[in-house]
Subunit: 348 residues, 2 copies
């Protein structure tokens, strides 16, 4: 299914013009604006061919042509020029978030916002790899009365805490003992590393506090497990409403119903987690039918070479892929950098 040079040019012209104007583009427009050296009649013939091959479609008989999902796909894979995005401001902003509050969550949340602002699409930032770290520290703090707070830190810098009930009889000293035993035994362990025998050992040593131990272990387990810490930060939804396709409310509703459900969104984004570099899912390539008019450009950011999360740009299928790719690439690189800097305690 290969296209000759002129068909490529025509398709490229259609995609680019439609991206720029959001209007179906006709043969005359192409002949005038994009000097292909042929008349509109010839272009009409080419367009008829392209339509038959499924790259473009007609909203109705007397309208121009609009790229189909397949057309966009061909454009992205074969025709699009990869541009570079480089913005000093964006870099400053990102680093600003870093220095103001040295927390990953804060950086990611604002990265999502930034994505939305600079593109007018909706930025999505997902973190999935911050769970699954190694045990670093646990602390049971007596809150008075019959409650205590369990605080656990992983070496990835994630903090998990939970309030638990404790028997009246427990003293601060007992909590201290539990903390120190756990700290000693579990130091540096990952979730897979914690052997059953080790747990038995701990339970044996702290036999009297089985009840508290149960709850503390729950917190540890959850804190170290891979799924924990999966979190989605949405950029501004406002910006995408500036796109002309959002003139009717139903589309907005559909989009919101999806965006407000973190879980579904995460599913869609993890769908292609394994792929490297910037990738895109166009319209019906995504399983969720609600997204048939949208495209999602995604990239993966890393920490010490390992993928720890993804960012995405959600826009109409008629989005500026060239720019979107550049921005996503730029942002993944910079988020990786910033996180790396934030967490550079190991090694060095």
């Amino acid at each position: 299914m290969t296209l000759d040079a002129r068909k490529k040019n025509v398709l490229m012209a259609i995609v680019q013009d439609y991206i720029a104007t959001a209007e179906p583009v006709g043969s005359r427009t192409i002949a005038r604006k994009y000097k292909l050296g042929v008349s509109s009649a010839t272009i009409r013939n080419e367009m008829a061919d392209l339509e038959e091959m499924g790259y473009i479609e007609q909203p109705h008989t007397s309208a121009g042509r609009v790229p189909s999902d397949q057309g966009y796909r061909y454009y992205v894979d074969h025709l699009m020029k990869r541009e570079e995005f480089n913005s000093k401001e964006a870099k400053l902003v990102l680093n600003g978030y870093l220095t103001k509050k040295r927390e990953v969550g804060h950086v990611l949340r604002n990265a999502g916002q930034l994505l939305s602002q600079i593109t007018n699409y909706t930025g999505v930032v997902m973190t999935s790899g911050l769970g699954g770290g190694r045990f670093k520290h646990i602390q049971l703090v007596h809150m008075g009365g019959r409650q205590s707070m369990v605080i656990m830190v992983t070496d990835a810098g994630a903090v998990h805490h939970q309030i638990i009930d404790i028997p009246e009889s427990i003293q601060a000293v007992d909590l201290e003992t539990i903390s120190s035993v756990l700290n000693h035994k579990l130091q540096g362990k990952t979730i897979e590393n914690i052997r059953l025998t080790l747990i038995q050992e701990i339970y044996f040593e702290l036999a009297k506090q089985k009840h508290i131990l149960d709850m503390a272990m729950d917190v540890i387990q959850e804190g170290l497990s891979l799924e924990t810490g999966e979190k989605i930060y949405l950029g501004s939804i406002f910006n995408i409403l500036n796109q002309p396709e959002f003139h009717n409310i139903e589309k907005v509703k559909v989009l919101l119903s999806l965006l407000e459900n973190e879980h579904e969104l995460a599913n869609i984004m993890t769908d292609v987690f394994q792929e490297e570099g910037v990738t895109v899912r166009i319209g019906e390539e995504m399983e969720d039918g609600r997204l048939k008019d949208y495209s999602l450009v995604m990239g993966t950011y890393h920490m010490e070479g390992k993928p720890v999360g993804r960012i995405g740009l959600l826009g109409p299928t008629r989005m500026d892929y060239s720019r979107a790719f550049a921005v996503v690439e730029y942002m993944t690189d910079n988020i990786s950098l910033v996180i790396e800097r934030l967490m550079r305690w190991r090694g060095k």
Copy 2:
């Protein structure tokens, strides 16, 4: 500016009908549906009076009447029957959130969602009082390399943490020392309670670690200060789009531009923090011009008798005030209860 009984009835009929139908209501409709014992002509006269007094207005000459902000205000203050909201499911849901993950933030986030779901308006939950607690515990955890994590817990159960740089020379023991000195000296202190002399004492005792101390004190200061922990949880925005007034996108945009800015939203809600019970701001009563077509029904939730946050329902001015009041009242009561239960360690 008092109204006679019949005018009250007419106004009430107009407000209720408009709330129910979202259509301007005419004299005939009132005469037919609300048996006031007079003809439509008489009602027309009354309506003319009400319009002159500013309680109702006409979208255009040959349309029915619509309540003005002032009309809604009169309705809410003098005419509205206060109903009760009582939903076993809502209570179950709320308690469910509590038992699954015993954290205030989790409860509040879901309370916001719940508000949106049961009313089809947008629920807003604000917490402002969870900062400003008493110092409970601090822990400096060595993360390896040149970084350490400061974790502070307040007696209100809030956990604050931040990663700080430390000199290479510092040992885990040193961090332990700092932690224990701070824990000892600051136990139970509020932000106002920490005297300068006390700080000097601490700095004297830990003279060698001034640098780390500075950063730890920052965390403490921020954790205990009143503004910290001010946070907004938004319910679903999706639901409010079901209201007929949202047929045009511009309104949605305006709303989103406001909702996406936590800071502005917080300002609007704290505007009336001092008032007790359920209150409402109608349309132009709010300073922000963008809200001129909206009303915000608000209530305060408490912890140990002290106000610690607010919830709000944002809907069109044409909202069902009676129900909104009932729901807000119900939710504040139940959130207070749930939080109380979550934090019932002191006293008892």
